[in-house]
């Protein structure tokens, strides 16, 4: 009987040698005359164990990792194809604590299936949401999404159902669904994983969105930094067309939905929805004034839904199991689950999908295992480059949009970047200003000029020049950025800068005791 062996094709696993491991396994099996079926699955998201090789056994899939090409021959010697013990044995994959403790809704299939296999997708609950949606009215689909309590996972946390309803109620001959796949935040990779490891869930989510609001054209605006995701998405889209899941007669319903991947070109600001639409229209990615809202006048002036990858990828399970099912996860006004991404200086980096409500401390230590360097964790930045830095004293904050807002921080897209005690927070504040300067679209003055001045002021502060004058100047500048910028790039750069200053004044050369106030 053929033995099934899984080696991930996720680009992070590949960056650690998964392709070479897969080649070595195929070669070794051939040499030994063993009949194996090699499946390139997605990643389970436990990246300190990648490349994580799994073998299908009667008891379930058994994991080995991290495997390097040099380990392969020894694994065969130890009979790993029968799930036998080896120094790299980890036991049953789904019994691993890190994995078992998660609540995987959006990521239900990720790591289990072959991403580009439509058969795998359908056999693992795929396209059940679409099937239900095809039997519902547009209002009922929108109601299910509203009932789920889903809020935009890109970072702004705007209720998805309300956005859809606005587009549904705005009459137009042409409407659009845009998937914002410009995942530019450092410390985040959940969108990338969805696109590389389960692309059909995004295609299904976008198709449902199209049905719900009467949009016949979808675009996935994908960042150029994700070449693997681009290949996988295009392969999956081609299959979906062949099998009648996209095109002018979706599953015989007579409904139409077309989908195309469009590549960005390395501009962080194009993750801002209006800048993204300018870019899709073939222009410089300059931020637009709002109103009008994109839901009323968006791409090419037409009503447009712009949703993040995770938001759209959460739609199929909501339509499959119902809005209430999804809503029953989570706390307060943060409903459902959030795929948290643990990154930076952390021992067990990876993807952790859980209901809202866990504390940062649980994520950092119970899941993450503390810092990778073994040194104390000094700060974490949550929510990407525009997110606040949080000190240890705030690690008991619960992951919840409102709880984070209450401490002047953001959950954002769910990325958590960990820094040990060797980090200098004034340097990080300078970097935030520098990043804003590099990525500013230039349309509004506070962001365009303020970020340049911010770098200069930070240089003065780092060099200890005139702190009495420069610290208030930095605060004043942040106030202008915060209140005067057109979009979140300038408007939120003060979050990392001021949180670093407020929580770690000593790194800015401020004698805390002398200036305590």
């Amino acid at each position: 009987m053929s033995i099934t062996i899984y080696v991930p094709c996720d680009s992070s696993a590949v960056s650690l040698g998964a392709d070479r491991v897969a080649t070595a396994i195929a070669k070794e099996a051939a040499t030994r005359g063993l009949d194996i079926k090699l499946v390139r699955n997605g990643s389970r998201g436990m990246f300190w164990l990648e490349p994580l090789v799994e073998v299908a056994t009667a008891k379930g899939r058994v994991a080995y990792g991290p495997v390097q090409p040099g380990d392969v021959s020894g694994l065969f010697d130890a009979d790993f194809t029968q799930g036998a013990a080896h120094t790299l044995s980890l036991g049953l994959t789904e019994e691993l604590d890190y994995f078992k403790k998660q609540q995987r809704l959006t990521f239900a299939r990720i790591g289990k299936t072959d991403p580009v296999s439509l058969t795998d997708y359908v056999e693992n609950d795929g396209y059940r949401g679409l099937k239900n949606a095809l039997a519902l009215s547009q209002e009922e689909i929108v109601q299910a999404v509203t009932d789920s309590g889903l809020r935009g996972r890109g970072g702004a946390a705007f209720p998805t159902g309300i956005k859809w309803k606005t587009v549904l109620n705005t009459a137009s001959a042409q409407k659009y669904i845009i998937c914002n796949a410009d995942e530019g935040d450092s410390g985040t990779f959940s969108d990338r994983m969805v696109m590389e490891d389960d692309p059909f869930v995004l295609i299904e989510g976008m198709t449902i969105a199209g049905l719900a609001v009467d949009a016949t054209q979808g675009y996935i605006y994908l960042r150029i930094e994700y070449p693997h995701a681009c290949e996988v998405l295009n392969a999956a889209i081609a299959t979906a067309y062949q099998e009648g899941y996209l095109g002018d007669n979706i599953q015989g319903s007579g409904k139409r939905f077309d989908l195309e991947v469009r590549l960005g070109a390395g501009a962080y600001v194009c993750g801002e929805e209006t800048s993204l639409m300018e870019s899709l229209e073939g222009k410089r990615g300059l931020v637009r004034f709002k109103p009008p809202l994109p839901a009323i006048s968006g791409l090419f002036g037409q009503p447009t839904v712009v949703n993040n990858v995770i938001s759209l990828a959460s739609v199929p399970i909501i339509l499959d199991k119902g809005g209430d099912y999804y809503r029953d996860f989570g706390i307060g006004r943060s409903r459902g689950t959030l795929p948290v991404q643990l990154a930076g200086n952390i021992k067990r980096p990876g993807l952790v999908e859980l209901s809202f409500g866990l504390t940062l401390r649980e994520l950092l230590y119970d899941f993450g295992g503390g810092s990778a360097s073994g040194r104390p964790i000094k700060a974490v930045q949550v929510g990407g480059p525009l997110g606040a830095y949080l000190p240890e004293a705030q690690f008991d904050t619960v992951l919840d949009y409102e709880a984070f807002a209450a401490i002047w921080a953001v959950v954002g897209h769910g990325g958590i970047v960990v820094f040990d005690d060797t980090v200098n927070m004034a340097e990080m504040a300078r970097y935030s200003m520098e990043f804003c300067k590099i990525e500013s679209c230039g349309k509004c003055t506070p962001c365009r000029i303020g970020s340049t001045r911010g770098v200069e002021v930070m240089d003065d502060i780092i060099n200890g020049r005139n702190l009495d004058k420069n610290i208030p100047l930095l605060r004043d500048l942040c106030d202008t950025l915060l209140n005067g910028s057109l979009c979140a790039l300038g408007g939120m750069t003060p979050y990392p800068v001021l949180s670093a200053l407020n929580h770690f004044p000593e790194d800015f050369g401020i004698n805390v005791k002398a200036t305590a106030a």
Partner: protein
């Protein structure tokens, strides 16, 4: 990357094939850069004419996006991540090493034309920081030693 011996579409062909797409400019610019490795200034009038835009508008778009370049790159382009997650794992020290090893700074190409070095702000490989990309290959947990080994291999296969 360009391959010699294969028939490449000309700039005119790329423009003709894509100009009727809605929002065609970025797809055309990608098409040209994929084929030639950069977008020569000489292409700008043709693109502008094909899309009924001014040359200034086309130039403005090319210069807005970090990824588009108007000079030929080296044989291989190294994108080194500078973002926070990579910084938390030593990206600054790695950046110093890479620059001194190659003898160039960001946005420069080595004198022998083998490597161009570009900064990148996140490759989505933050669980394996620090990260870099050479061509379409992504590398994780990059160290000074693994960088040296990688460019030696890349050089040999280039």
């Amino acid at each position: 990357m360009t391959e010699s011996g294969t028939t490449q579409p000309t700039v005119q062909e790329i423009i003709a094939a894509l100009k009727d797409k809605p929002g065609a400019l970025l797809p055309i610019l990608h098409g040209i850069q994929d084929t030639l490795g950069y977008i020569p200034a000489a292409c700008v009038p043709d693109i502008a004419a094909g899309l009924s835009l001014s040359r200034a508008e086309v130039h403005g778009v090319i210069s807005f996006y970090h990824y588009f370049r108007d000079t030929p790159p080296g044989k291989q382009t190294i994108h080194l991540c500078r973002a926070e997650s990579c910084q938390a794992m030593g990206a600054k020290q790695l950046e110093e090493h890479v620059k001194s090893k190659l003898g160039i700074g960001f946005h420069e190409t080595t004198a022998d034309g083998k490597f161009s070095l570009e900064p990148v702000y996140c490759l989505g490989n933050c669980a394996c920081s620090p990260a870099m990309q050479i061509g379409k290959e992504i590398y994780g947990r990059v160290t000074a030693d693994s960088f040296d080994a990688t460019i030696t291999t890349t050089e040999a296969s280039a």
